[in-house]
């Protein structure tokens, strides 16, 4: 550090006001009343992801061309990025701040891109763990069960997964058609879980082949049997030949069984199962149509799936309820329907359909597929687990009322989506670990939560207290950003297979991003609340008090006067101004 230069006479001074040495001796930091600090906050996409993935972090890495690192980041939280990148309803995108600026970042397609890239390059997980002696049984190999098994294995436990079907994957395997989720993608991600050392027992049907009481050798149990029982239509004639449930139909097709459909196939329902069933029937050469009792406004299926079904030429009739199936020669032949109008909203906020008397009409049908919802079969569980109306009443950890028994996925009270199932599997793994170690769990939510919507980070859990960076309790919103620094830029769309090609086979409809498109799209990410070393603070600081060090920016508090310009000019709310305490 230089010393101060003292001029005694006017002639000694330069003719113009210019510094002749550094002013670093002048520690202007003691003028400060307010103090800027780097503080990463919660990006809304991370908060919105029930699986708790560090989406913002992955967007940054993809933008840098570090695709495999991005994949590893996702894999820390979720063993299924290839699956989620195809079938997730992507609440991350509806949380994305960019959606109120121009259009949300195409996160879902990017998740798929990083998984596909890792797959193409044969990337495998590396794992360091210390083995623990405890054993855990997981019942069900759907996304909840396998996610729980994955994380427990990473935590060092011996895990056995029991699956009633001959194949693994649960609904991912038997409920989602090939054209949306190729078996190869699913199998690869399942194989990666098994390679960690997870044991599996297939054709082991809980309730038929074993009960909880048979699992005494396991110190904890995770229940994730899913909801595989279709709800009945509850109308006359539904037991006739030519009537089947959507779940049953998809399960058969996905296991390679031959199903004979007639030409005219009526699919009843408006959920993803209904659309999957109709689009599968179409690919088998039938002419399916969908009957839904409310309107497009209330329909629960994914918007993209509805659009794709329409593109493929499937007719959707709204405000129609079936009332009777008519049978000819022991086989269904006609479907009697009623028209509805919308009444007031019911408990879930959707307007209730009200039948219009005398509006009956008839449809000629060869086959009826009922897809009005699924429910769990919990009959093999002891009552003391705690369940009501086919739903297990698990606590905030996913624990049931029976000690050591946890539950997740579609059998607990939560939205029935793949990503919620994954989130619940991870949560159970964390709290099973706590349970087995006899650790306190009450304070953990504050440490692990990502925002306010229930997502937890197992990465933080695995880090151990000292390594964890302090967690902000603030989720960044659009108003928190300095939008002057962002340009409008259209969201990239994933290319799709031609419609004529789609109908010929079960080949995948969506074709994924190229690396160039992916990097460009990831570059649209605002990196809300997370410093991405954009250098704005460095450029703007009038006191050169932001200093660049390797991979971070550091504030030189000896000279920072606390003017707050860095905070103001930070595009992404990654700096805060706090009161100086002296």
């Amino acid at each position: 550090m230089s010393n101060q230069i003292i001029f005694k006479r006017e002639e000694e001074m330069p003719y113009l006001p210019i510094s002749l040495a550094s002013m670093a001796w002048n520690k202007t930091g003691n003028w400060r009343y307010l103090k800027p600090q780097f503080e990463n906050k919660i990006p809304p996409c991370n908060e919105g992801c029930p699986a708790g993935q560090d989406i913002e972090g992955a967007m940054f890495l993809i933008g840098e061309g570090k695709v495999l690192e991005a994949w590893e980041l996702f894999k820390e939280e979720n063993p299924f990025p290839g699956v989620c990148g195809r079938v997730c309803f992507h609440p991350c995108e509806s949380s994305c701040n960019r959606k109120d600026f121009d259009e949300a970042v195409s996160i879902n397609a990017l998740e798929r891109f990083l998984a596909d890239t890792a797959s193409r390059q044969g990337k495998r997980l590396s794992l360091k763990r210390e083995r623990r002696k405890e054993k855990i049984a997981v019942i069900g190999s759907g996304p909840a069960g396998l996610t729980c098994a994955y994380h427990l294995t990473r935590l060092g436990y011996g895990v056995t997964v029991f699956e009633s079907l001959p194949v693994l994957g649960g609904m991912l395997r038997v409920g989602i058609p090939e054209y949306r989720l190729p078996k190869k993608t699913l199998e690869e991600e399942i194989d990666q879980i098994l390679e960690l050392g997870v044991k599996v027992e297939v054709n082991a049907h809980f309730g038929r082949d074993f009960l909880l009481s048979d699992l005494k050798e396991y110190q904890a149990i995770f229940l994730a049997m899913g909801s595989h029982r279709s709800k009945n239509l509850g109308i006359p004639g539904e037991k006739a030949e030519g009537v089947m449930s959507g779940v049953e139909f998809l399960k058969d097709i996905n296991q390679g069984k031959e199903v004979r459909l007639g030409k005219r196939v009526a699919v009843i329902g408006g959920g993803n199962t209904a659309f999957d069933a109709a689009r599968t029937a179409l690919r088998l050469g039938a002419k399916p149509f969908i009957l839904y009792r409310r309107t497009r406004e209330e329909i629960p299926a994914l918007a993209a799936e509805i659009m794709e079904a329409e593109e493929e030429g499937i007719e959707i009739s709204y405000l129609v309820s079936p009332v009777r199936l008519m049978v000819e020669n022991g086989k269904v032949s006609r479907l009697e329907c009623l028209k509805n109008r919308l009444g007031p909203a019911d408990e879930d906020g959707r307007r209730r359909p009200i039948e219009i008397k005398g509006s009956n009409f008839f449809l000629e049908v060869d086959q009826v597929i009922a897809a009005i919802g699924e429910e769990a079969d919990l009959s093999a569980l002891p009552k003391k687990i705690g369940w009501k109306e086919n739903v297990i009443l698990a606590d905030e950890r996913g624990a049931t009322k029976q000690r050591g028994v946890f539950a997740g996925g579609d059998i607990i009270q939560q939205p029935r989506t793949v990503v919620h199932a994954i989130g619940s599997g991870k949560r159970a793994a964390i709290f099973i670990d706590c349970f087995l170690k006899g650790n306190q769990w009450e304070g953990l939510f504050d440490v692990l939560r990502i925002g306010e919507r229930g997502s937890l980070s197992i990465k933080r859990y695995l880090q151990g207290e000292e390594e964890r960076r302090p967690l902000s309790n603030k989720t960044v919103r659009l108003k928190d950003l300095n939008l002057d620094y962002f340009d409008y830029k259209k969201r990239k769309k994933m290319p799709k297979a031609q419609i004529s090609k789609r109908l010929e086979s079960f080949a995948e409809v969506n074709l994924g991003f190229s690396e160039e498109t992916a990097r460009e799209e990831a570059g649209r990410c605002f990196n809300c609340g997370v410093c991405n070393l954009c250098d704005n603070c460095y450029i703007f600081c009038p006191d050169v008090a932001i200093q660049k060090q390797d991979d971070s920016q550091v504030i030189d508090y000896d000279h920072c006067k606390g003017c707050g310009i860095c905070v103001e000019e930070c595009p992404r709310d990654a700096l805060v101004l706090v009161e100086e305490r002296k």
């Binding site: 001074m13 003719y15 210019i18």
Partner: protein, 384 residues
């Protein structure tokens, strides 16, 4: 080579011949055609300069400050309101000792709106530390532009050259265009002592405490006073190189004059005709054109006024509450002289009103008639 050109283009050509390297400006009537022509000269490659369009005159001057600190020859031009908007940066430019050259096309300040000639805009900037030169003809405009860079760079202070709106800016005259190589040897490349340089970092204009601030101000004052001598030398050298010189002031037919008119800018040309006519009639009238206003050439003026009985100053400007600025400056300059003629102050031609020979005749006769000046400036050429 002679070329017919308007006064504004004479500025542009002077800048081109001076090889300015950065030009930053914002358009304003009646200045616009200066930078318009410069942008053409830059675009077609005749002038190898960076032309930086900006969103305001304040930014234009800020841009010039940066460019000049980086060590390049820098130019801008403005008028009236634009100059007023620049005010803050004018102080900065002189305080930072940057040899920026600016052409001001003198225009009346609103309100009410007026786009015509008046010197109040530049005279209101007399305390900003800029040298000020006032021009009478398009030739003088071009020549003064070249001189201005040389003066500025020698004393490290900015120079403003002024020309009357429309009377010069938009009026075409024959102008002798100097040869480039002669200009190059008269005005070599600018070599600053200090400049912004990433390889040799310094802070410019940083916070300066009371212990040092006065010394910097004193240095500016010294430089400004020295500027008078430098301006004279540069004009002499210019005369040797190009055969034309203008002086800090110009005395016209002042030999044996009992009454001397003091003018600046284009009014001087009208005054020459009036003086000639009056001399023909036997009246001993002369005229002094003040070319250098800052620093004020007191010594030269006193010399010319030695034998005159009366001095009548014609001001196309007004400092409200005082009156004509040139007259006020003269009075202030002479007040400690034991002997000097009484100074009569007249205001004429505000907001572009013509100052005709009749107006100047009226001033001469009023001055003859009065034995002693009125305390306040007398307004002439008013609607009656």
């Amino acid at each position: 080579m002679k070329k017919i050109m308007v006064g504004n283009h004479a500025v542009s050509w002077g800048v081109m011949l001076s090889r300015a390297e950065v030009i930053s400006a914002y358009p304003i009537t009646p200045q616009t055609t200066i930078v318009e022509e410069l942008s053409v000269l830059c675009a077609d490659g005749r002038l190898k300069a960076k032309f930086i369009p900006v969103e305001s005159e304040h930014s234009a001057m800020a841009c010039c400050v940066g460019a000049s600190a980086a060590g390049v020859r820098t130019f801008t031009a403005t008028s009236g309101q634009g100059l007023a908007l620049m005010h803050e940066m004018l102080h900065w430019a002189s305080g930072a000792r940057l040899p920026i050259v600016m052409a001001t096309v003198n225009r009346a300040l609103g309100s009410p709106w007026n786009i015509w000639g008046e010197q109040t805009d530049s005279l209101a900037q007399r305390d900003t530390g800029w040298l000020q030169l006032y021009c009478e003809s398009n030739q003088e405009v071009l020549d003064t532009t070249i001189q201005a860079f040389k003066i500025a760079e020698k004393i490290q202070l900015p120079v403003m050259l002024n020309l009357d709106a429309f009377f010069l800016s938009h009026t075409a005259e024959a102008v002798e265009i100097p040869e480039q190589h002669v200009v190059d040897s008269f005005l070599p490349r600018y070599k600053p002592t200090y400049r912004l340089d990433p390889k040799d970092p310094h802070s410019f204009g940083c916070l300066t405490p009371p212990e040092y601030f006065m010394e910097f101000r004193y240095k500016i004052q010294q430089a400004m006073l020295y500027g008078q001598e430098v301006s004279r030398q540069v004009d002499e050298e210019f005369g040797q190189s190009f055969g034309r010189k203008y002086g800090l002031i110009e005395a016209y037919r002042c030999q044996g004059a009992d009454l001397i008119l003091v003018t600046s800018g284009t009014i001087s040309s009208t005054a020459r005709v009036v003086v000639d006519n009056l001399r023909d009639k036997g009246r001993k009238v002369g005229m002094v054109k003040v070319r250098l206003f800052r620093p004020f050439p007191k010594k030269e003026l006193l010399e010319v006024f030695r034998d005159a009985e009366k001095v009548a100053v014609v001001d196309r400007n007004v400092s409200f509450g005082v009156g004509g600025v040139f007259a006020h400056e003269l009075r202030a300059a002479f007040c400690n002289e034991k002997v000097h003629p009484p100074i009569f102050s007249y205001i004429a031609g505000l907001g572009g009103r013509d100052v005709t020979p009749q107006v100047l005749n009226d001033i001469v006769y009023q001055t003859y008639k009065r034995s002693w000046p009125e305390e306040q400036s007398v307004w002439v050429g008013m609607n009656t």
